[in-house]
């Protein structure tokens, strides 16, 4: 249970981070104009007191991001407040590619962390993972993960850390490409050959039934049976 809560707030974090990354772009532009007068004096190479003062101006990637509720980015967050209502504000906002740890290493750490919670000696169950638009497939060992959150985070790590995980109130999960905003819906093929939405059944049941995973582009996923038909 504890893990799930932490994972939920992680997912929230990622969502918030992605939103604030977008939000800080206009901030950067205004900071640019505010700084222009400093720049001209800077170019003449004078006055370090001036440059020291500029610390108080808002800069790209501002620490405001941390104080999510109070910063200018809260206007976009308000729209998604239902999303974020559950989790308490987290102490740190995550930034793409920071700290500078290789994706390979991050994956390995996740696998190790997952492995220590999983039952010993379970035979590996590798399933193929396809992402619409990616040139080649990956494989994951479902036994490495204790739940959907860990699986999604592993997928996030494998496909170059560009995905952020977005969760919705009705348990739906989506992976969003932070670079271009494309939404992917995680689906899987079960033993009957049907394509199902990931997340409906308990993890263990999913682990047994899943034959392969496909991250479907949101536009195509409308053909999957809606959740309401249960």
């Amino acid at each position: 249970q504890e893990d799930d809560d932490a994972a939920t707030s992680d997912a929230e974090l990622e969502t918030r981070e992605r939103l604030t990354t977008r939000a800080t772009k206009p901030v950067a532009m205004s900071a640019e104009t505010e700084r222009s007068s400093t720049e001209s004096s800077a170019a003449s190479g004078l006055d370090f007191e001036d440059t020291a003062l500029t610390l108080t101006l808002r800069l790209p990637g501002d620490p405001d991001r941390k104080r999510g509720a109070s910063s200018s980015s809260s206007c976009s967050l308000a729209d998604r407040s239902s999303l974020l209502a559950e989790a308490p504000p987290a102490p740190k906002a995550r930034v793409v590619g920071w700290p500078p740890v290789r994706s390979f290493r991050k994956n390995a750490l996740e696998n190790v962390a997952a492995g220590s919670t999983r039952a010993a000696c379970a035979p590996a169950k590798f399933v193929k993972v396809a992402v619409d638009g990616a040139p080649y497939l990956r494989k994951v060992n479902l036994r490495d993960y204790a739940g959907y959150d860990q699986l999604l985070r592993a997928l996030q790590g494998k496909f170059c850390s560009h995905f952020t995980i977005r969760k919705f109130a009705n348990d739906e999960m989506k992976l969003v490409d932070a670079v271009n905003g494309t939404e992917y819906v995680p689906t899987y093929e079960d033993k009957d050959g049907d394509w199902m939405l990931v997340g409906d059944v308990p993890w263990k049941m999913f682990e047994e039934a899943c034959q392969r995973v496909r991250l479907m582009k949101n536009s195509e996923a409308v053909n999957i049976a809606p959740r309401s038909a249960r």
């Binding site: 800077a42 440059t51 790209p60 740190k92 290789r102 290493r105 750490l109």
Partner: protein
């Protein structure tokens, strides 16, 4: 050399410019470093010709700096080539997929022009199974394949290599993303094949046929390096070691198992037989109880890589403290300050230390602070290379470290939270990093972090006279910062910057500098399209690439000059603009 046999002063020795090529080439063969060969080649046309025709090793640090065919034509005798592709920040997910850096054109050109090629090394490139098949079938004396941080191939491609390369000595796969096709690539080594010296498949995720591996290890008596993957359990490691006691380097793969005293005894006996073991690594979820099985090799170890090992506590520290001859230590921050204090006291020959974060996004429950680094720098006189991830730092600590170790050549400090100040004084860390660059006159590589103003860059620009690579993130407060770097740092080759308030002015003011560098990366800074256009126009021998939202459909030509540029990647090239850019990359 070169002075002829004439004793008569009037019959002068043959002048330099008429020395036969064979003499020149022989002389050049004593210049191991590419830089020296490059310098010799610049002397005159004669030397240029002799040098390029006899060059055996070629390192292409940026695959787009030259066209593969040109490189092959220019250096026809190359036996060993190394090519690097994507920018360094690709390691951290800042470069989306399908960016480029395909190995295929290089393999094709090599297949045409270097039939005697023996060694090929690719780093951060896309290597396909077709590439591997072409390598296997094009070079009859192919011996060494090294792939680092590559992707795009599968075990089927590996099978082509193991089947086709009859003289293979080294197959070194480091941190690649390899698709597992379950094709038994290891089984394709013929039974008669015995030349293997290095086998590293630690990054492979799938199973390998252990019986095949065991037979391979048994018959390759020259095997010196064996790095296994996670699929090989502990008891199998023991039996492999018994077959290959001559190993110099071992990577154990997964090291977790419940403690069984008979398995412990097996391991201990197996390691006791490995008198030549010098380098040890592995992804140890190690049950600490097994560590004493390694004690017999500790004394001989020069390199220990526990950076994927989640083992912690007194057993870990006891283990490392027995490694008195350690030169290279990679660990997780689980070692904590008190562990590093022990390292400082035990490993007096330490040259390189890397401490990785066990929980990069965690709430800082690990007790690793600046103290650990201070202790090691104080007690390890040969320490020259550091990579250190931690949560806090002070100027005082950095100044102490700088005073202790003026011999640093590589100093990379990553304070996990961006813009963290000195936690005692709440000031910026300018003073600390300035002390580092002022004291370490031979510093070649530097990564800075924490709260930093433009002042630190003034210091770096002025004092970084040997600096070749500089990484900056979330630092500085105006264009001045970038200007200091670009106008100083005489030997700078690679500059990578992210999330800094650096704008167009210093870039344009120092445009000429960029041609003396290999590459510049700037992401999430304050650049606009107009400046990039100006830069590209001013400097035709640079390729100016910008990366923006792939969702943007309009071509870059139609965008106004003041459009923000999210990522700029500039590099010098003699090949002109590349033609394999994906949608989200535009060459200005």
């Amino acid at each position: 050399m070169g002075r002829g046999g004439a004793r008569d002063g009037a019959a002068a020795a043959p002048p330099w410019h008429s020395l036969p090529d064979e003499v020149l080439e022989h002389a050049f063969s004593f210049l191991p470093a590419a830089a020296d060969r490059g310098a010799a080649a610049a002397v005159c046309h004669g030397w240029l010709g002799a040098e390029r025709r006899s060059r055996r090793r070629l390192a292409v640090a940026n695959c787009y700096a030259a066209a593969p065919r040109d490189a092959v034509d220019r250096f026809p005798s190359v036996r060993a080539a190394e090519v690097k592709g994507k920018p360094h920040f690709a390691d951290f997910g800042l470069v989306p997929p399908a960016w480029g850096a395909e190995a295929a054109p290089w393999v094709a050109a090599a297949a045409d022009g270097w039939p005697l090629l023996e060694e090929l090394s690719f780093k951060r490139m896309v290597v396909t199974d077709e590439c591997l098949e072409m390598i296997a079938s094009s070079f009859r004396n192919f011996q060494v394949l090294r792939l680092v941080s590559c992707e795009g191939f599968s075990t089927a491609g590996l099978a082509a290599i193991t089947e086709g390369c009859r003289n293979l000595r080294e197959l070194d796969l480091q941190e690649n993303y390899i698709e597992d096709c379950s094709s038994h690539w290891l089984s394709y080594f013929p039974e008669s094949f015995t030349s293997l010296e290095t086998l590293n498949f630690s990054c492979l995720e799938g199973e390998v046929n252990f019986a095949v591996l065991e037979r391979l290890v048994s018959r390759c008596r020259n095997l010196k390096t064996l790095k296994l993957n996670n699929a090989i359990p502990l008891d199998k490691v023991a039996s492999l070691l018994r077959k290959a006691p001559q190993l110099v380097e071992l990577g154990t793969g997964k090291f977790s198992a419940e403690y069984h005293s008979d398995l412990f005894a097996k391991l201990e006996a197996a390691f006791a037989g490995c008198k030549s073991l010098r380098r040890l690594s592995g992804a140890w979820d190690a049950v600490p109880d097994y560590l004493p099985a390694f004690y017999c090799v500790c004394e001989g170890l020069t390199s220990l890589n526990l950076s994927y090992a989640t083992v912690r506590g007194p057993e870990l520290i006891k283990f490392i403290s027995r490694c008195k001859n350690l030169q290279q230590l990679w660990v997780m921050d689980l070692i904590e300050d008190h562990g590093l204090a022990v390292v400082a006291g035990s490993c007096s020959k330490l040259q390189e230390l890397r401490v990785f974060p066990s929980d990069p996004f965690g709430a800082g429950q690990v007790l690793l602070t600046e103290r650990g680094l201070v202790d090691v720098s104080a007690s390890c006189p040969m320490l020259e290379s550091v990579l250190y991830f931690c949560g806090q730092m002070t100027n005082e600590a950095l100044i102490t470290i700088a005073k202790n170790r003026p011999n640093f050549t590589c100093f990379r400090l990553c304070i996990l939270e961006p813009r963290t100040p000195d936690y005692v004084t709440r000031e910026s860390l300018d003073a600390g990093f300035s002390a580092i660059v002022e004291s370490c006159k031979g510093l070649r590589r530097l990564s800075v972090s924490g709260l930093l103003t433009d002042l630190v860059f003034k210091s770096i620009g002025a004092n970084g006279n040997c600096l070749e690579m500089l990484s900056i993130a979330f630092a500085g407060n105006s264009d001045l910062g970038l200007h200091y770097i670009l106008s100083g740092c005489k030997t700078l080759k690679k500059l990578e910057i992210r999330d800094c308030p650096f704008g167009n002015k210093p870039l344009l003011a120092n445009a000429a500098k960029l041609e003396t560098m290999r590459s510049l990366w700037m992401s999430s800074c304050s650049l606009t399209l107009g400046a990039c256009r100006q830069l590209a126009e001013k400097m035709p021998r640079l390729t100016v690439e910008i990366m923006n939202d792939p969702g943007r459909t309009c071509p870059v030509e139609s965008l106004p000059d003041d459009s923000p540029v999210e990522t700029l990647y500039v590099y010098r090239t003699i090949a002109g603009p590349r033609s394999d850019t994906p949608d989200y990359v535009q060459i200005v």
